[in-house]
């Protein structure tokens, strides 16, 4: 049962990270609402962190560095979500819509 030993392979995690990245790209391209795009961007960040953690576990000499990097990605993702959502709320207050195609004027 080699399939039960997948968690000891580096490439399993890397391919999972690539899949998460691809699903996130698909979401960003096809979503119409700003919040949907933000959710897809979170998926892309999750794929990137998974890559860092996989290399950290299997290939890096110092297994702390990747964890610190992933922690930094999480903090940046939290900041990005906070700023992005407050922009979404400001846009909604002005246009009464969160459709990405309604917000075409730079100056409100």
């Amino acid at each position: 049962m080699a399939i039960l030993n997948l968690y000891n392979e580096l490439s399993t995690f890397l391919i999972l990270g690539a899949l998460l990245f691809g699903i996130g790209i698909y979401g960003i391209v096809t979503r119409r609402t700003l919040i949907g795009m933000l959710i897809a961007a979170e998926l892309i960040l999750a794929g990137a962190s998974l890559n860092f953690m996989a290399f950290n576990r299997f290939a890096a000499a110092d297994p702390v560095t990747g964890q610190v990097f992933t922690l930094f990605i999480m903090a940046v993702a939290a900041a990005e979500a906070a700023i992005g959502l407050s922009i979404v709320i400001a846009v909604y207050r002005h246009y009464k819509s969160i459709d990405a195609e309604d917000t075409v004027h730079l100056k409100g």
Partner: protein, 179 residues
């Protein structure tokens, strides 16, 4: 610590660990697909939470329970809840139907995503990644020591970035509010 090449049977301890790993992978991918494909935004946040719990499980398998806990605390506890609040504040309850996307947007987006992740997967498959000898065990104690010595700058920058993000979010979201 070193990857072993044994083939465990299903009903041994290693086999059950493998089953749990497959469940985590399924959770992650199902959650991601739900997050990108559901029509209602609330369901897509639920899918995002599912995906993040699965990724936290994968971090457990990557020998870092600390990052797994942080994943659940920060992403599931903070980011997903923030997105849920923003949906409640801003999503217009399907009053205005979103217009059609154009017939090519779905297939072209799928083709782009498939091309990207497929080429990344082929790259992963063909590369022989060099493996280095570990110099410490990556425990929480070591993370703490290195955060306050080698990675001091990162530690300080995280707090600065979060402070500026909080202030910026307040400033942006307050503007234009009546009363």
């Amino acid at each position: 610590m070193t990857p072993t090449m044994t083939n465990p049977t299903l009903f041994s301890v290693e086999g059950m660990v493998g089953v749990v790993f497959l469940v985590m992978v399924a959770l992650t991918l199902t959650g991601a697909v739900i997050a990108c494909n559901s029509v209602r935004l609330v369901r897509s946040v639920a899918g995002l939470i599912l995906c993040f719990v699965g990724v936290a499980g994968l971090y457990f398998f990557l020998n870092s329970p600390f990052i797994a806990m942080m994943q659940i605390l920060i992403y599931v506890g903070a980011v997903a809840v923030t997105i849920a609040f923003a949906i409640m504040l801003a999503a217009p309850e399907q009053k205005k139907k979103l217009g059609p996307m154009g017939p090519l947007a779905g297939p072209l987006g799928f083709a782009t995503a498939a091309l990207l992740s497929g080429s990344l997967a082929v790259l992963v498959w063909r590369t022989d990644w060099p493996v280095r000898e570990k110099i410490n065990d990556g425990s929480v104690k070591n993370i703490g020591i290195q955060l306050l010595t080698d990675h001091m700058m990162v530690f300080e920058l995280i707090s600065l970035v979060l402070l500026i993000a909080i202030l910026g979010a307040l400033v942006i979201a307050r503007g234009g509010r009546e009363g």
